[in-house]
């Protein structure tokens, strides 16, 4: 029995080696490699989150995230209150520069949400400007619905995703 196992292990090892040699990753001759941008091999690996996009969002610790209603980019009263706190932080440290990231919930199409996120970021920027924060200290970017912080598919998650994140540069 023992010799049989040894034999089996040896066979497995040999076959592993043979396969290892034979199955060198074959490079598909797709392009002449003339550019930086080449077509990668298909890798249906799955390291992603529920929604597919990696979550790397959220405001820097100094700042408060502000939230919006569905399909709206006007500032709610609670958003204005938090935005004022962010403005205080900006005024205390005149060297601070930030990017306001506009985000949306998953409902509606990609393209419309990109535009909506842009409007949300600019609503906050304009409000900050009206309160004396110089425009050259604040830039904006929209991620549309591509970077949710909450991965659920209900109103609770959606409410958390309709937001502006304030990120220190």
């Amino acid at each position: 029995m023992k010799s049989f196992l040894t034999l089996l292990a040896a066979a497995a090892l040999i076959s592993f080696m043979v396969v290892g040699c034979a199955k060198k990753p074959k490079v598909e001759p797709l392009t002449k490699q003339t550019t930086k941008e080449t077509i990668p091999p298909v890798t249906p690996s799955d390291q992603s989150t529920d929604q597919g996009t990696k979550v790397e969002s959220g405001s820097s610790s100094k700042f408060k995230t502000i939230y919006f209603d569905f399909d709206r980019y006007n500032l709610r009263d609670d958003a204005k209150a938090d935005l004022k706190k962010n403005i205080d932080v900006m005024q205390q440290d005149q060297n601070l520069k930030i990017t306001i990231e506009g985000h949306c919930d998953e409902r509606g199409t990609v393209e419309y949400n990109l535009a909506l996120g842009e409007r949300r970021a600019k609503s906050a920027r304009d409000y900050m400007a009206s309160m004396g924060v110089k425009a050259n200290r604040v830039s904006t970017i929209s991620y549309g619905k591509e970077r949710p912080v909450a991965l659920g598919h209900d109103e609770d998650a959606w409410a958390k995703n309709r937001r502006d994140d304030f990120v220190e540069k």
Binding site: E28, P29, L30, T31, K32, T34, T35, E37, T38, I39, P40, V42, T43, P44, S45, D46, Q47, S48, D50, Q51, G52, T53, K54, D71, E106, R107, G108, T109, V110, E111, Y112, L114, A115, L116, E118, R119, K122, T140, I141, S142, Y143, G144, E146, R147, L151, H153
Partner: protein, 480 residues
């Protein structure tokens, strides 16, 4: 890997007129024309068929009545009866092997699925009762006719080295069996699905005299590799492959009208920019990288202009760029609303888009010079993502229903004749097939986003991806 095989030699032996105006497609494998041979009916099967003909009640061939009629008009008025077609076996000839048998089964399945999906066709399946009662061994055209088919596609498959040779024939079964077309197609084994799609294409062309789409592709955004990248698959979801490797967010592909290129939106340099990707070489170049967002590109029918959303002047508005990305003109100029999601009419005389100028997103139309803005949708509080039919007769879009779900709807180009295509689940980004009779869309079921295709009249829907992370489809237009 049976995906796009760029290494295959282009060698179109087949007569050019076989596929009409469609130019030789670069994905096409080697093919050779030739007359196929088919065994004659055996005496036994003739007798069996005669008995069947005498005993089974006669089924009127509806298809005959449709010859020479305007299918489009008939479908619209509900007077169209789909062509009843049977897909018979593709018998292995030459040396039989398991491989050959499985390839032959694949051909049959792909052709069946193609024709079953197409709005002009109903597929007829084997009536097991007839077959059992009459102990039928061979499904001849006559037997198929008795089982209700008006047309038949069948053929043979033979392996020759690394190649497979498929010989197909398309037959009309009424008033008597008559062969309409036969052809031999040769390809590498791994490319067998494409050959099967070409058989389906031939049936559509031969029987319905319509331009077929079974060999077209769908570009889409997919996060199966971890990040959202632009992917490409066959129209039926097979042969999915990733095209971009931006490692950020890539989405909203839009097809070039002539070449195998896509415009798409990417965040690879931080914010949303529009790039052009050459599918075959993998090369990409920046098209639009103005400050703010650059998104939702749509290429004009003459292939010369891009309608796009830019926020460089402070607010998301529509602009027209040339193909290099230089701004030619601004289409909309409202200081406090979103204008996005442009789509051209096939004549190039109109652009439709989404605007929230009244407080909620609605669909509008505008002339390509920016005048004549007219609102098209008034029902509901959320209408978005319009796509202008390549037939020029309808607009497909998403409407948010009372229950909060997003449904696929259609209107005519004046905003009337409201219709609903799909009311289940939550849907987004509907996009017409190149023939204008079918639609691809993204449907969310639970936490999963997948692509579905459906036809416009039978409304039969079919799921084509299953990774749960696919969205943003764009169906390849006809290249003509």
């Amino acid at each position: 890997m049976t995906t796009l095989d760029y290494t295959l030699t282009l060698n179109m032996c087949r007569k050019a007129e076989d596929f009409g105006a469609r130019r030789p497609h670069p994905y096409t494998a080697r093919m050779c024309a030739g007359k196929s041979t088919h065994s004659r009916m055996s005496l036994g099967s003739v007798i069996a068929t005669l008995i069947l003909m005498l005993t089974v009640c006669f089924i009127a061939p509806q298809a005959l009545a449709q010859k020479g009629i305007d299918i489009s008009g008939a479908i619209r008025t509900g007077k169209f009866n789909a062509f009843k077609i049977a897909v018979g076996d593709f018998k292995v000839v030459g040396d039989w092997s398991l491989t050959a048998d499985s390839l032959a089964a694949t051909v049959k399945k792909v052709v069946t699925d193609d024709l079953d999906f197409h709005v002009f066709f109903d597929t007829i399946t084997v009536n097991q009762f007839y077959v059992d009662v009459w102990e039928i061994k061979d499904l001849t055209p006559e037997v198929w006719a008795r089982m209700g088919a008006d047309y038949l596609v069948d053929g043979t498959l033979e392996l020759k080295g690394d190649d497979a040779v498929v010989a197909y024939r398309i037959s009309e079964l009424h008033p008597q069996v008559q062969e309409m077309k036969d052809e031999k197609l040769r390809t590498r084994r791994g490319n067998i699905r494409r050959i099967a799609h070409m058989v389906g294409d031939a049936a559509v062309k031969q029987i319905a005299a319509e331009k077929p789409f079974f060999t077209t592709k769908i570009a889409y955004a997919c996060a199966a590799s971890g990040r959202k990248e632009v992917w490409l698959c066959d129209y039926d979801g097979a042969n999915a492959m990733r095209l971009t490797n931006d490692q950020s967010i890539a989405l909203s592909p839009c097809w070039d009208r002539e070449e195998d290129k896509l415009l798409y939106t990417t965040f690879k340099h931080g914010s949303a920019e529009v790039w052009e990707l050459d599918i075959r070489s993998g090369k990409s170049r920046s098209i639009s990288a103005y400050p703010g967002i650059n998104s939702a590109p749509s290429i004009s029918p003459d292939n010369d202009e891009i309608a796009i959303t830019l926020s460089k002047d402070g607010n998301p508005d529509l602009y027209i760029l040339n193909r290099k990305g230089e701004i030619k003109r601004r289409l909309t100029d409202l200081p406090s609303s979103i204008e996005s999601g442009a789509s051209w009419s096939p004549t190039g005389q109109e652009i439709i888009f989404t605007s929230d100028r009244t407080g909620t997103p609605q669909i509008y139309r505008v002339d390509p010079d920016g005048v004549g803005i007219t609102r098209l949708t008034y029902e509901g509080k959320y209408n978005d993502s319009p796509d202008y039919s390549p037939l020029g007769d309808a607009i497909v879009y998403v409407a948010r229903g009372e229950d909060g779900d997003f449904q696929i709807c259609t209107i005519d180009t004046k905003g009337s004749d409201f219709g609903q295509l799909d009311q289940t689940g939550s849907n987004e980004n509907p996009h017409w097939s190149p023939d204008g009779w079918h639609v691809v869309l993204c449907k969310q079921v639970g936490a999963k986003y997948d692509l579905y295709i459906m036809d416009r009249f039978k409304k039969k829907i079919k799921k084509i991806t299953s990774d749960g992370k696919s969205s943003n489809p764009a169906w390849q237009p006809f290249a003509d």
